[in-house]
């Protein structure tokens, strides 16, 4: 039995699947399919699963064939899943910048792992958390992370498939670099406010910055605002998001074992970096 994802644009209600293709369509009786539709500019939503009941292939044009199948046992997914949420939980995906590019075709084959993850809406939290954050670091920050990690936790590179460990190290890096920088700048700002005005009238925190001799002048305040936005999104009132992710990963470790097996022979899910 094989597993497939099918663009629901090829379905004629209620349950007929028709595909014109110049390739051999080899979806067979008994194969399982999950239907998807495009959502917004960059996402797709998986919404229904079904079984290929009977299928036939006929010649359509010179080199095109017409594949027709009847779907049975249609079940709407209880939790419809977005590709943007499943990106790091699917073996199929290696284009992390534009995962929808994997779904441009009318249909595509899936591993059983991927089919199960999509239809159950299950997420490999450790790989997802690691993937989403590491792909937001720019080239130089990524190099910095790799240098720091090689020095402090080289085992992360030996067990690249251990995304629980990789997440732990990345989270720590984020906290000691960016959360600490946010704290330091907030504190400097508070102190500057306390001593400017009557004590040092011409000191204006908004003007202060850092720079090299020939480089651009970076503003402390501008960076503090950017770091504060990150802090607000990461440590909202309802609790620390990074902590919640770690907690979730630990809590679901049993259900994540299947994922660990599925991604055992993969390396880090890094998106292509230009240059």
């Amino acid at each position: 039995m094989n597993y497939w994802a099918v663009d629901d644009a090829n379905i004629s209600p209620p349950n007929d699947l028709t595909i014109f293709s110049n390739r051999v369509v080899n979806m067979r009786h008994g194969d399982e399919v999950v239907l998807f539709k495009r959502v917004g500019d960059n996402d797709i939503e998986f919404h229904t699963r079904a079984i290929i009941e009977e299928s036939q292939v006929g010649r359509y044009e010179e080199d095109k064939q017409k594949y027709v199948a009847h779907l049975s046992n249609l079940r709407v997914l209880t939790d419809s899943s977005l590709l943007s949420e499943l990106t790091y939980s699917l073996q199929k995906i290696y284009n992390f910048r534009q995962p929808r590019r994997h779904f441009l075709r009318k249909y595509l084959s899936l591993s059983q792992y991927d089919f199960d993850s999509i239809t159950s809406g299950s997420i490999y939290w450790a790989r997802t958390a690691f993937g989403i954050y590491i792909n937001m670091l720019g080239r130089q920050q990524l190099e910095h992370f790799i240098q720091e990690t090689a020095a402090s936790s080289p085992e992360v590179f030996i067990h690249q498939w251990d995304f629980g460990l990789a997440w732990k190290v990345l989270r720590q890096f984020i906290e000691v670099q960016y959360i600490a920088a946010a704290e330091l700048l907030r504190f400097v700002h508070a102190r500057a406010d306390q001593i400017s005005g009557s004590d040092i009238p011409n000191l204006n925190y908004m003007e202060l910055g850092v720079s090299t001799e020939d480089g651009e002048n970076d503003s402390l305040y501008e960076q503090e605002v950017l770091l504060s936005k990150f802090l607000a999104a990461t440590r909202p009132e309802e609790g620390d998001l990074l902590e919640r992710l770690s907690h979730r990963i630990a809590e679901e470790s049993a259900s994540q074992e299947a994922f660990q097996e599925a991604f055992r022979y993969t390396s880090w899910p890094l998106q292509t970096i230009e240059g």
């Binding site: 989403i132 720019g138 960016y178 600490a180 004590d199 480089g215 002048n217 960076q223």
Partner: protein, 210 residues
Amino acid sequence: MHESARTLAEAATWAKSQLPLKVNDDFLYEIYILFELLHDLKNQYAIKYIEGRGDTRHHFPRKPALKSGRPRFEVLDKRSQHTLWQICAGTRIADIHGKDRAPDLSFQSPDAGDAPGYTEVIMIWDAKYKTDDRTRITMAELSEFGWWLEVLQLRGTAKPAINLSNLVLLVSNCLITNGDKSTEPDAECLRLDLKEVHSFYPGKMFAVRP
């Protein structure tokens, strides 16, 4: 999670220069120490903010820089309004061989010029930020600082009579860290004429030795 990661992408890079933000580059920590010092000094003294020159007049150096282009502070006697000391961050000082050194914070004499030499420096502080705050000041850091004190001829010299409150124990050549003290005995710090200030971080109680 997507929103948090998206904001991280912006915050992790300095907005203008596009350089990566690295807290262990020390200059953020150095600025924090400078403002803690100014906050303490204002209790007893008048403080003047002196702009540098040109584009960098309000910008502290990321790396050792010329004093003239950079901002600094002057500490004045409240009554007489006489300048008692200058406080500079990350700017160069010529040592006994004429080679430039750039301690993170230097206390300079009131008449020190734009290209100060070791005779115009009274006391220095150096900042060592540790990403893991259990990390100790290393032997290399301690010996480099001790050697700076030697080539700047600051070992065994009289310390300025700075009247500080919270930072009163820091009136010395100080190696300041958010991490832990080195494993060297107090006697070695005394011999080098320096103090180690550890756990120095917002919201923490710092300690000084010897």
